[in-house]
């Protein structure tokens, strides 16, 4: 972290409080051919917070999020989630099946593109139910009720719960994705540009829903966006990435009011 080096404060971090990390990634290295997508990235996410990851295209933020969803394995690095049954294991050492089960039970994700996150030919309630089914729920009435509750929590109009996503607007599709992601109360909710491509007004409403969910359920979220406005509205802490590295991280208000790294300053001031 270049900025910290210039700082005369010895950046010891006396830990006083009780917050134990929910998600810890250490030394993530990922190369695609000659391209170094991630060059030793460390990220920590604490329970109940929203961590924003910003950076330009190609900064590695989406690759990092895919790592968190165990869709990809890095050349080096470790990944821990604070889960009772995976306390000490590096999640990258899990096999495909274990990853799938872990993902189904403990990780929720909302993609920018609903075609990736949703089964477009199935009903919206079915999309939510599928996640419960994968986790082993076999009671029809309960599936239906839980799908309805989850959709309602995402502020989806539940009277349309049996419409297919194809028949819904982009904003509604994102709400279905969200309902699916939170159906099992995930340890961490990953949001990959969740409102990019929506109208500004719809985007604001979806962000409101996310905020409300975060407040009422204290869901731990990781939000990736290139849109500083979205990050500013949502995030408690911000990680700034550039060319596969974390250049700066801090409390959201500090990153936006007093950015240290030249790149962050450029980014923040370009927006203002």
């Amino acid at each position: 972290m270049g900025a910290a080096d210039q700082n005369t404060i010895t950046r010891q971090k006396p830990r006083l409080m009780l917050a134990e990390p929910m998600l810890t990634m250490r030394g993530i290295v990922r190369n695609f051919g000659d391209v170094q997508a991630l060059r030793g990235v460390d990220v920590t996410v604490y329970p109940g917070e929203v961590l924003g990851i910003v950076g330009e295209s190609g900064s590695g933020k989406s690759t990092l999020l895919r790592m968190m969803n165990l869709e990809d394995t890095p050349e080096a690095g470790s990944y821990h989630l604070s889960l009772p049954d995976h306390q000490d294991s590096n999640l990258f050492s899990l096999d495909r099946f274990q990853r799938r089960m872990l993902r189904a039970r403990h990780i929720g994700i909302v993609y920018q593109n609903p075609h990736i996150g949703l089964l477009m030919g199935h009903t919206s309630s079915g999309n939510v139910a599928e996640r419960l089914l994968v986790a082993g729920n076999r009671n029809f009435a309960e599936l239906r009720e839980r799908a309805r509750l989850s959709l309602a929590a995402s502020e989806f109009p539940v009277e349309r719960m049996d419409a297919t996503p194809r028949e819904l607007s982009g904003g509604m599709q994102q709400r279905v994705q969200l309902a699916k992601a939170i159906a099992l109360e995930p340890a961490v909710l990953l949001l990959d540009e969740p409102t990019t491509g929506l109208d500004v007004s719809v985007q604001a409403l979806v962000l409101d829903t996310l905020k409300r969910l975060q407040r009422d359920r204290a869901i731990t979220m990781v939000l990736v966006s290139h849109d500083l406005g979205v990050i500013r509205t949502m995030a408690d802490r911000v990680v700034v990435m550039r060319r596969g590295e974390v250049v700066e991280q801090g409390l959201a208000d500090q990153i936006f009011q007093d950015p240290q790294h030249p790149y962050t300053q450029q980014l923040v001031h370009a927006k203002l």
């Binding site: 700082n7 404060i9 006396p14 409080m17 917070e49 790294h261 300053q265």
Partner: protein
């Protein structure tokens, strides 16, 4: 980094605190304040004075860690020991902000599209008060600050600046914090609301809240002030002159 154990009632000890802004893209440095030392005790009220640009707001924001100090320490005393707010982990700062350290400004920083009473009730809810009770309390404060009843369920983003500020103040003051940083909370408030605010501050001071702040109308809070802290604008003209394009 050893420090003599201060008197038990000390909340904050600031030592050699300096702040400057490195404007990388302009290739220049802005100096705010340098080598500040002061203590703040329980129930104490410090008024910050100084001309425009002397760094009063900057100091408050540095104490709150919206700004990162360049050097020095901000020792915050808790029952479990001291923590240096200047370099504590972000997550610890976030926890302290939620529980113990409040920052009051004239600017609304709550989310749009949440009802005013819900915004005010939120700190109580986070502290574990049942929703209904929190709402009752929130409405009491809104009416104390003179926010009309018909606005309680409306979104503050549609309010006038003054009304927004009142919502903001009610939210910031509803829960007794341990340390309150006040950045011109009375600016642009009408007389009644100003009185409500000052009454609440007196009440909090009585309850032992340590406060440090900048006030547009210091005469409002005159009876609360224990000490004044004068800041002087720093004029350093070394690096700033070597602007290389």
């Amino acid at each position: 980094m050893t420090k003599n154990m201060p008197a038990a009632e000390t909340v904050l000890s600031v030592q050699g605190l300096s702040k400057q802004f490195e404007m990388h893209h302009l290739k220049r440095t802005l100096y705010a304040f340098d080598n500040l030392d002061f203590d703040l005790r329980k129930g104490e009220f410090i008024l910050l004075k100084g001309e425009n640009g002397a760094g009063k707001s900057t100091l408050l924001r540095t104490l709150y860690r919206s700004y990162l100090p360049r050097a020095g320490h901000v020792w915050y005393h808790t029952a479990e020991g001291m923590i240096d707010l200047a370099c504590a982990a972000d997550v610890d700062i976030a926890v302290l902000r939620q529980r113990e350290i409040g920052f009051v400004t004239q600017f609304l920083n709550a989310r749009p599209r949440v009802a005013a009473d819900e915004i005010v009730a939120e700190p109580l809810r986070l502290a574990g008060t049942p929703h209904a009770d929190a709402l009752v309390e929130a409405r009491r404060w809104l009416s104390a600050f003179g926010v009309k009843k018909q606005l309680w369920a409306a979104y503050p983003s549609t309010f006038s600046g003054g009304e927004q500020q009142k919502v903001n103040l009610a939210r910031a003051l509803i829960l007794p914090q341990r340390l309150l940083l006040l950045d011109e909370p009375t600016a642009s408030l009408d007389r009644d609301a100003r009185k409500a605010l000052v009454d609440r501050l007196a009440e909090l001071k009585e309850a032992g809240v340590a406060m440090i702040g900048v006030f547009h109308h210091p005469e409002d809070v005159e009876h609360l002030i224990d000490r004044e802290l004068h800041l002087k604008a720093i004029k350093i003209e070394d690096e700033a002159d070597h602007v290389v394009e």
